[in-house]
Symmetry: C2
Subunit: 308 residues, 2 copies
């Protein structure tokens, strides 16, 4: 385990450096995947809807974490790590498209643009989510041809963290229950894809994934609290999506439970634990810097400034 | 290539034998997958919706073809073939659940039961489709642990025949276009999962898949014409789903184009070609019998009787 104090010293130099090289790798992998999916004879409107749902993209936090872990583990198969990062991002984008549907959040906007069901149609939004899920698994299979023994663990991990009973589908499914297992709900709804990020980063680089579970789970917990805070303190215009959805849909929320100040303190506590949970590995210091950089972005703007 | 006449002689003895052993294998693999997906802490209603969408199931034609091809190729990894068969069936069930949604066919019934969005809710129907797609890929990854080199080809094949630009998502996507590439539409909408069936059967048994493309494509073509015929000549009660959806949604249809007699003749012509396209393999005779048995079931009841 890292010492938090040692790691904080590394941050001092590195925390303002944006992960531009990782962003390039992720965007290139997503663009390549979309180009193949849109190759004739693809139906043109569905092909455009796939592009609309995934480009230019949001913060790409999950694939950035995945590549950061892969780098920390040696990144001996960078093409496979890139495919894994893009696969994870496509699954995340698919979940946003389906969550925005009229029967869920009925969101008009996403990432500052019309939601897919508004820009295209509801049938094309359902199909866009379906096709992005499938494309994620296809990317893994194609890239794993060069390291066949890594295919099954990558596909199994992405599937487990996406589907039932532990993945984001399960998380969303809890919102249709009258009696909610809150711990299972949060772990599945937000935590699952962060655990996928850390585990898949390790697998793509040929390392065992289990030591990376805790880091992913803690990042997921931090992200959930940060998202609740942003939803409470920022405007729909700043976020590019509707706010206040949790109280509207009667969903559990850290701000509702703890208040803004309480939730902000909770976020800071979790973030301290995140850094401490990085396993020993060759690229530990750089990974700690990256995690810290991502963590800074998690704290909503007004609070981030008050910490400087 | 088989001689049609030789193969017909084999059929004479075998065509009435139902594939009960295959049905057992498929049902057991589907049941096992559903049990894992529904393990606590799965959200209970979504778990029940997954079971509703997949059990007791329809004719299980696609996985039966997959296992028949695997057997013809030696079936050296029966657990992997079973997983591949169940994975393909889960993807097919997912497509039915999403196709039945209000924004597509708005079907009230499926397989004689309320459609998932009626029995549960529209959000749970969207999630059921998503979770079944994911579960399909998860099954392949888990079962391929014993034959890692078969994982990537199985996942890539199932993904290609499900997603964009060639799979059933693309097929459904064509229904949102004003200018339709009819050949691409039919190949993707109905043919894709039959090609998945024959290719995956070969891969699961360690054989090269390319020689099996033509058989899958021809079965898919026959199935499309047979479905159009059933839609035209049978009642909603007989079929357990609404009829007349193609004219209603202005979709291309063999009966609209050729009439009932013309479409029936076209189906017979295609079925003759199906048997002729079986590649040489150790289990060729048994496979031909199985294909013939499936083909008999494709011809709508009144016409099947007139052929006896």
């Amino acid at each position: 385990m890292s010492s938090v104090t040692d790691t904080m010293n590394v941050f001092a130099d590195l925390q303002s450096e944006p992960p531009g090289d990782l962003r390039l790798r992720i965007d290139r992998a997503v663009t390549d995947a979309l180009a193949r999916a849109g190759t004739p004879p693809a139906p043109p409107r569905l092909a455009r809807a796939l592009a609309h749902a995934t480009q230019p993209g949001g913060a790409r936090i999950r694939p950035t974490i995945l590549l950061s872990v892969a780098l920390a583990c040696g990144d001996d198969r960078p093409a496979l790590a890139d495919a894994a990062a893009a696969a994870l991002e496509l699954i995340h984008c698919a979940s946003l498209v389906h969550d925005d549907l009229p029967c869920f959040d009925d969101a008009a906007t996403r990432r500052g643009k019309p939601a897919v069901h508004r820009a295209f149609s509801e049938p094309l939004a359902v199909l866009t989510g379906d096709a992005l899920i499938v494309l994620g698994f296809e990317l893994l299979a194609r890239a794993a041809a060069e390291a066949p023994e890594r295919c099954a663990p990558l596909v199994a991990t992405l599937a487990r963290q996406t589907g039932m009973p532990d993945g984001i589908c399960a998380g969303q499914g809890w919102e249709s229950e009258t009696q909610v297992d809150l711990s299972a709900y949060h772990r599945a709804k937000t935590g699952a894809l962060f655990v996928a990020a850390t585990r898949m980063g390790a697998i793509a680089a040929g390392q065992p994934p289990d030591p990376w579970d805790e880091l992913g789970a803690r990042i997921g917990e931090a992200f959930q609290v940060a998202d609740d805070l942003r939803d409470a303190v920022m405007s729909a215009e700043d976020l590019g999506k509707p706010v206040g959805q949790d109280p509207l849909h009667d969903r559990p929320n850290a701000v509702t439970a703890l208040g803004v100040e309480g939730a902000t303190q909770r976020l800071k506590d979790i973030l301290a634990g995140v850094v401490a949970s990085i396993p020993s590995c060759p690229g530990e210091a750089r990974l700690a810097a990256m995690v810290r950089w991502q963590a800074e972005r998690l704290v909503p703007q007004p609070h981030a400034r008050s910490r400087a």
